[in-house]
């Protein structure tokens, strides 16, 4: 019986560790949401959207590295995670090379 209860106690302890680590990340994410919401109402003109996207990127990286366990992942998995952004950048850059330089 006691072994059973000791096992439970140890399990509860391990469970609490998992909670605590992830809770910290959760708190940071919530703060970032409030931050980006607040900044949206400041009259920064041109820099509003880029700033909001920067904070969004920060949240995304945070979730990617910790919740999606990229920090533990091997090289080729990290490569797979990051590869898409190169092609997305190419898509945006060359499409806007047309849109931006069009004579109207």
């Amino acid at each position: 019986m006691s072994v059973e209860r000791a096992g439970d106690a140890k399990a509860a302890q391990r469970g609490a560790d998992i909670w605590r680590r992830s809770l910290l990340v959760w708190a940071i994410l919530m703060l970032l949401v409030l931050l980006t919401l607040g900044l949206a109402y400041l009259p920064l003109g041109r820099f509003n959207m880029p700033l909001a996207l920067l904070i969004a990127a920060a949240k995304a990286v945070l979730i990617g590295v910790i919740f999606m366990e990229l920090r533990l992942a091997k090289g080729f998995i990290r490569l797979a995670a990051g590869a898409a952004f190169l092609w997305i950048a190419v898509m945006f850059a060359l499409t806007f090379s047309d849109l931006a330089s069009r004579a109207g």
Partner: protein, 557 residues
């Protein structure tokens, strides 16, 4: 592990995958990559003949400058059907999903692909997409061309664009599933000793193709989703009257569709390397350059889509950028053609049917690639864009290249897939007939193109008629040539001589196991120490007169 233990642990003789269950259910629910490959082979053959019949009617119609047999509307629907079915239901699945599925695990020494159930699911996605498209055909057809340009496809066409777009949307996810499956298989299921630079080039071509499949197909899915959203819910995304820009659709569509042509040609390049090295008995010339060339094609293929839009209202500066990048993407293809030709140097060349198709591929792909340079230069593209010159160019690459390689693969690995030998004389005749039929069909279209005959034209100025007559007669010869392989291959299935495990004396890992291979591919997990094409010592060349085990005679096991 002592030899005895080795033997009783691994049986010396195993049941071939064909005898592993004969019921329909054992085929339709099988997660064996070899059976799924055959399911794909059957489905793409059916779709090939649907597309071929559609274009046969069009070619007959075009013999007359103001055609009478079919109406304008039927004409538009026929060439659209030909486009959609051939691109998404024949060419894209043709080599990766049939020979890729069958051979990838065999070539890297794996029992199966990484996610067998996902592999079967991708076939059902392809079939579901196909049924959607066939429903669109039966219900009345689509007249927008396989390119679905807006605002015609979203606001002005009253044909079944929704069903066709949904069909291609679903089939697209089939492609993504195959891409994911192959990438994980190549990364994680290579047998002992199979390091990256000992992979056969066909496996490299499948890996490069899978990268393009995974990265490009989602953008097609989103493009078709937006067309569906605009046409069904009335959201004015590409609608110019609400400030939308139809060119945005073209950017998104061609961002997928140009890499898609590399999805079609890269596996063909892999097959040709395997066939040429085997029948010239030589190592491939510049293995590492061939690998980097294929990966470069897959990578830079995403940079060049703007050359489809030189005259579509794209800004001249963007056109110049895309024109320059399109010339750069031609360099890896030039490297590959040079390396194939150099592989033949000092070889022991024999001319079985697969070799004829492969040599035909090099010639036709060279012409196709060079005409691509014409289209990459802006002043010439202004003259030949959307004319028969473009039709001839991409048919030289897709039919002259990809379909020739498909038949080369079909004949080269036929003994491995079925364990039977096909009739060599008929196969060579069909290959040569196909080569001449193809050239006679599509070479006149280059002249037609520069003369200014636009593509997708039901009626055309009378002075172009002589070229159309030439092209249509060539097409009938090509059609006849396409009917030959099914005949003698089915004959070979029923009455063909049993082929040994390795009738061609080839060096691939797939030739070391039985023909047809057992369900788990290898009796014992193989391990390798050498590179892929060990036909002779490094630096030497196979000496004249050296009696290599002539492929046809090795006695069946």
């Amino acid at each position: 592990m002592t030899a005895a233990a080795y033997h009783d642990e691994y049986p010396s003789q195993a049941n071939s995958y064909l005898r592993d269950g004969h019921s329909l259910w054992s085929w339709l629910a099988s997660t064996d990559h070899k059976r799924i490959a055959i399911l794909y082979a059957i489905s793409i053959t059916l779709f090939f003949f649907v597309g071929a019949v559609a274009i046969a009617i069009v070619r007959v119609e075009l013999v007359n400058p103001n055609g009478q047999f079919i109406s304008d509307d039927t004409y538009n629907k026929l060439f659209t059907l030909h486009g959609i079915v051939m691109v998404w239901f024949f060419l894209i699945p043709s080599i990766p999903n049939t020979f890729g599925n069958f051979l990838l695990p065999l070539m890297i020494g794996a029992p199966d692909v990484a996610f067998p159930r996902l592999n079967l699911f991708s076939w059902y996605l392809n079939i579901a997409g196909g049924l959607f498209t066939l429903y669109a055909v039966v219900a009345g057809g689509v007249d927008t061309g396989w390119t679905f340009y807006t605002p015609f496809s979203t606001m002005f066409s009253n044909s079944h664009v929704l069903a066709a777009a949904a069909g291609v949307f679903v089939a697209g996810f089939g492609s993504i599933a195959t891409g994911v499956n192959f990438i994980v298989t190549v990364h994680m299921l290579r047998t002992r000793g199979m390091i990256w630079f000992r992979l056969p080039l066909f496996v490299w071509s499948l890996y490069a193709t899978s990268l393009v499949l995974v990265l490009a197909t989602p953008v097609l899915a989103v493009t078709l989703l937006l067309v569906i959203a605009e046409r069904w819910f009335g959201f004015p995304i590409f609608d110019p009257t609400h400030g939308g820009d139809p060119l945005l659709f073209q950017h998104l569509f061609w961002f997928y569709s140009h890499p898609a042509v590399y999805i079609m040609i890269l596996p063909a390049m892999g097959v040709v390397t395997e066939v040429i090295t085997c029948f010239a008995r030589r190592r491939v010339f510049g293995y590492t350059f061939m690998v980097y060339a294929m990966v470069a094609i897959a990578g830079i293929g995403f940079f060049v889509w703007g050359h489809h839009m030189f005259v579509s209202g794209q800004s001249p500066y963007a056109s110049l950028i895309f024109s320059f990048l399109s010339f750069v993407v031609a360099v890896p293809s030039a490297i590959k053609v040079c390396n194939w030709t150099a592989t033949l140097y000092r070889g022991q060349i024999t001319f079985e049917a697969p070799m004829l198709y492969a040599l035909g591929f090099i010639g036709l792909f060279t012409v196709g690639g060079l005409t691509g340079l014409f289209l990459a230069s802006i002043p010439i593209d202004v003259q030949v864009h959307d004319t028969y010159f473009v039709v001839a160019h991409f048919h030289y690459i897709m039919v002259g290249g990809s379909v020739s390689a498909f038949f080369a693969a079909l004949h080269f690995w036929w003994p491995k897939i079925t364990g039977k030998l096909y009739d060599e004389a008929w196969a060579r005749f069909a290959a040569i007939l196909m080569f001449f039929g193809f050239n006679f069909t599509f070479f006149p279209q280059f002249l037609l193109g520069y003369l200014g005959n636009p593509r997708r034209y039901h009626v055309y100025p009378p002075e172009f008629q002589v070229y159309h007559v030439m092209s249509s007669t060539g097409a009938s010869v090509l059609a006849a040539a396409y009917l030959l392989p099914p005949i003698y291959l089915i004959w070979s299935l029923l009455y063909g001589k049993r082929s040994g495990d390795n009738p061609w004396g080839a060096t691939g890992l797939e030739w070391t196991t039985q023909s047809p291979p057992p369900t788990h591919n290898f009796l014992a997990p193989p391990s390798i120490e050498t590179g892929p094409y060990e036909y002779h010592e490094k630096g030497e060349a196979p000496e004249a007169g050296l009696r290599l085990p002539h492929p046809a005679q090795s006695e069946p096991r």
